[in-house]
Structure formats: structure tokens, C-alpha cells
Symmetry: C2
Subunit: 308 residues, 2 copies
């Protein structure tokens, strides 16, 4: 099995990573984090989320953050700065703040959909139709997320065919890429490959991305198993930001540093400069007063420290 | 590629894990840890090391620990309790304390061999000959370690052919199994597979074990890549005990909990009861006043806590 020569990395740290953080950060810190990640060379930085501040207080400054990033002289032409837009209101606010790419999210599990966004999977997809229609009119690409692709905190197992059906639906609705989220990090290489095989039968694998949480320490192995099937886009969060809301003290997103370390070790091109990535991670961790959850970051920073 | 149906796990926590710990633990704690690991169902527990207490103060009680374990009513007939014996003196002390299996260690890198045990690889192998001869006379199986199989802290890259040559030498000398140690955790699935392919050309893969450190968070992916080549024995340390002596604050051995989580997720039999394994980890961490380095342990313990 030939692994891809090149991988696109989407750093979701500023959104998926920070949204569960209790420490409310100033907008300036978030802006600096986003710019440092873009400087480090990731293909995309998910900048923020236009959700109700009632639900996610950390994202109350979404407009301010996005506007600053999109008008900054540091903005990279080659980097995408997608933002999460759960509905038309969020979409309009995002566009007003300068969004050039947005993301929507559905679940592969009915129970999770009900508990997380208060409606069935079918209803949630219907709600996204006007967002997709308006985005198409404005020429704004839409990324689609599917959560619970390897299991659900309420239902347990989720059938690969069910994941594939939701992914297919988002693709047909017009999403340019479908990010498959192992929200609770329960997947192992075998279940991830089974799920991917089903999805790749519904949506060409070039349009699929892996979004794996490292709750049980399996994410890097799951990325490797996905590379074996030809997947070439992965989401990650710098420093492993964002814990797992379903298990306090446990990890959330796979750390971008671990992902980059794996890919470079496999001679796969990412465009990422590890040193700059480590700097971006150290920057945000200093503000959160926390150690990195990334083992690669810990080891590389320890080595850097020993050199000086 | 068909993965093995069954995997043997060697928990090296009481030896490789504890030897770098600064907190000196009482023998009773080490004995209890070893017995809990055997109760949890691992195939082997590396119990201690008969080295000079001048070099490894934590192992000064090797005789006491091994004697207690080997004469305990809790001793499991099906579990091996190997101990490290660097020379004939250590071997004799180990046998006097009841050892039924021992282990010796060589390096795949000349610089590492010189810095770690003060002699060349060739000299180190020569030194082990009398140990192997006496072990053979007594019918005591000897396990061989090769360190630096994916890279050396002093030399950088280590050629797979060099690793294979040392593994072959140990095999020919009479070691019943060769454990291939990625001492600095620098391997990624591609380099590990290249190294394993070379070794499997020199020693049948059934006689090889993977001993991967998780310094950069790659160990679980490396285990998966090794399973793909048919490897079916892996070393690990409960709770990820033992940091990396070459990078303070970084991880050492892959955590047994992460390994078991991976294997069970792949429907591979291990004989290990995860709940008992978690208990063994919690027991030793309480004595070290430390959180687990194992992500699987963190997530599973958080879930257990939430249930009660």
C-alpha cells in the first residue's frame, strides 16, 4: 500500500481545541494563535465558531477574531481560515466578518444528534440546506463534519454504513470535503479502516478527511491506518488542545505536533515547520498555564531546552 | 495483511519502568506491583535487574524482590518473571534468588554500547557468552534485548542491517527471543517496518518482540505497523512507567493499557483483564504520586470515576 506523498493538515485548535477550555482567552491571544499556526505552514486553521455565546462562551468574540485575521497583513494567501456556522444566522455573521470558508456539522448517531444539537440527523441536514444554498451563491466553500464515526457516547457502536450515508448526504448537498470525526476517540485501526472503506464507497477518498481524537491514545495509529487507505487530509489541534468533554482529564484532538512528527517520519510532505509549530503551541499553553498533551512536543521541547 | 490472533505482552514496568524513577520504592511495593500485573494476565513480568546498586539504586533489592515473587502463593504458573542479568555475577545472584528466566542486553549502535555499558557491541556479546552457557546448563531461558533499533541518541540513524546482525548474533548464541528496543522512541511505522523486515530476514519473526518507547507518541502506531508484519510479542510498562532518560519530561515505555486497548480493539487476544491492569497502574502511581502517562488509562479511569 503506497502512502500519500503529501498531506493537508487542518489545525482545529483555535475552534475545536479552545471551545472546551474554561479559561476565557482574550481575542488578541486567539488571533495571535491563528496567525502563528498559519505562519507554521498548516493548510488551514479553523479560526472560530459562530455559535450562540450562551452555548459556547469562549466563542463570543468570533466576529472580532475572524475580522482581525482576515484583514491582517500576516494573513497567508494559501491558508484557509474556515469557521463553524451552525445556522444561517451564524453564516451571515461569519460572512460579515470576512469568512471565505465555513463548516457545518452533522452526527452519524441519532442519539448524539438529539443530545448535541436537539434534532434528528435528517433534520440537521435539512437545516443546513439554506446555509449551503447561500454559500453556493457567494462562492464560499463549505466543509462538512460528521461526528461519532467510530462510536457514540450514548449508543456505543455506530454502523460504518450509517457514517457513509451521512457523509454521502453532505457531499451531495455540496460540501467540498467531509471530515470524519471520531469524537470520543474510541476507534482503533481496524474499526477506522472498516468505517473508511464504507465511506470511500460513498464519497471518493480524496474528499474525505480524518478527524481523530486521542482519548485512548489511538489517534496516531488511526491516522496511519487511514494513510494506508489513501486518505490525505487530517484535522489536528496544536498541543493537543481541548480535552474530551465525555471524560474529564482525558485527551481530545490528536496533537498537530504528533501528527506532523508521524508524517515527516513517513517522508510525507506537510508544509509545516515543526519549530514554528512548537512555538505556536508554547504560546497558547503559556496562556492556558498548561503542559502540552503532545508527546512529540514534550520530547522536542525538552531536547530544545537541553541544547540551550 | 492478516494480524496475529493472539499477542504475548511482557510488562517491563517493574524493571525498565522503575529503574529511572528517582523515588526509591520499598521492596513490598515492587512485589505487590509484580503480583498485580501477573494477576491482570500479562504473559510475563520483568521483575527486576541484578545490576550494581551503584548504577541503579532502585534495583538494590533485586534479590529480595525476586525471592518473594518466586516463593509467593500468588505466583502464577503460566507467567514468566524474567530478570535482567548483565554479567555472570548478576546471573548467579538471580538464580540464587529463584530466577527461572533471565535477560541480557546489547545495543545496535556502537556509540550507545560504549556510553551505556563501556564496551563495543562485539565485546558485550562476548561477555554474555558465559551467562548463556551457564543458563543453558541450568535450563534457564534467556531473552535478549537489542537497544537503539530505530536510532541512537549519539549516532542518529542506525542501519536496519546492523540491528539484524546483532539480533541474529543473540539468536545464534541461544536467546529464545530477541526484543527490539526503540530506546529513544524515534521510530515511525515506516522505519520500524524497514528495521523489522531486515531482522525478520535474520531471525524468524516469531522469535522477535517489539519494545517501543512512546517518547514522540508513535509507539502504538509502531506496534500496529509491526502487527502488520506478523509480530506477536510486545513489551510495555503499566501506566507508561519510566520516563525517557534522554529527554526529561518525555515518555518512556509504551503504556501497557494503551497497548491492550489497541489489541483488544483489533480483536486480538491478550489474556489481560483491563480492569485489573488499571488497578495495578493506580496502585503504583499512588506510590509515585503521579498521573498515568497512558491515555487509555486516563480515559478509562475517568469513565470509571463518573460511574461511581
Amino acid at each position: 500500500m503506497k502512502l500519500p506523498a503529501k498531506v493537508r493538515i487542518v489545525d482545529v485548535g483555535p475552534r475545536d481545541g479552545l471551545q472546551n477550555e474554561k479559561t476565557l482567552l482574550p481575542a488578541a491571544v486567539k488571533i495571535e494563535l491563528i496567525e502563528r499556526l498559519a505562519d507554521a505552514g498548516v493548510a488551514a486553521v479553523e479560526a472560530t465558531s459562530f455559535v450562540s455565546p450562551k452555548w459556547v462562551p469562549q466563542m463570543a468574540d468570533a466576529g472580532e477574531v475572524l475580522r482581525a485575521v482576515m484583514t491582517s497583513p500576516r494573513r497567508h494567501a494559501g491558508v484557509a481560515y474556515p469557521v463553524l456556522t451552525p445556522n444561517l444566522q451564524g453564516f451571515d455573521s461569519a460572512v460579515a466578518a470576512g469568512a471565505k470558508e465555513v463548516a457545518i456539522f452533522a452526527a452519524a448517531s441519532e442519539s448524539f444528534s438529539q443530545k448535541n444539537i436537539n434534532c434528528s440527523i435528517g433534520e440537521s441536514l435539512k437545516r443546513f440546506q439554506p446555509v449551503l444554498a447561500r454559500a453556493q451563491l457567494l462562492g464560499i466553500p463549505v466543509r462538512g463534519y460528521v461526528s461519532c464515526v467510530a462510536g457514540c457516547p450514548y449508543e456505543g457502536e455506530v454502523a460504518p454504513a450509517q457514517v457513509a450515508a451521512v457523509a454521502r448526504e453532505l457531499f451531495v448537498m455540496g460540501c467540498y470535503e467531509i471530515s470524519l470525526g471520531d469524537t470520543i476517540g474510541i476507534g482503533t485501526p481496524a474499526s477506522i479502516q472498516r468505517m473508511l472503506a464504507a465511506c470511500a464507497g460513498a464519497v471518493p477518498i480524496d474528499y474525505l478527511a480524518g478527524h481523530y481524537h486521542d482519548t485512548y491514545g489511538m489517534a496516531i495509529a488511526n491516522v496511519y491506518a487511514s494513510l494506508e487507505l489513501g486518505m490525505a487530509t487530517f484535522d489536528a489541534a496544536v498541543a493537543g488542545l481541548g480535552g474530551c468533554p465525555y471524560a474529564a482529564g482525558a485527551s481530545g484532538n490528536v496533537a498537530t505536533e504528533d501528527l506532523v512528527h508521524l508524517l515527516h517520519g513517513l517522508d510525507i510532505e506537510t508544509g509545516v515547520d515543526m519549530d514554528r509549530l512548537l512555538d505556536a503551541g508554547s504560546f497558547i499553553l503559556a496562556h492556558l498555564q498548561r503542559e502540552p498533551l503532545s508527546k512529540a512536543a514534550r520530547a522536542l521541547l525538552a531536547a530544545r531546552h537541553a541544547r540551550h
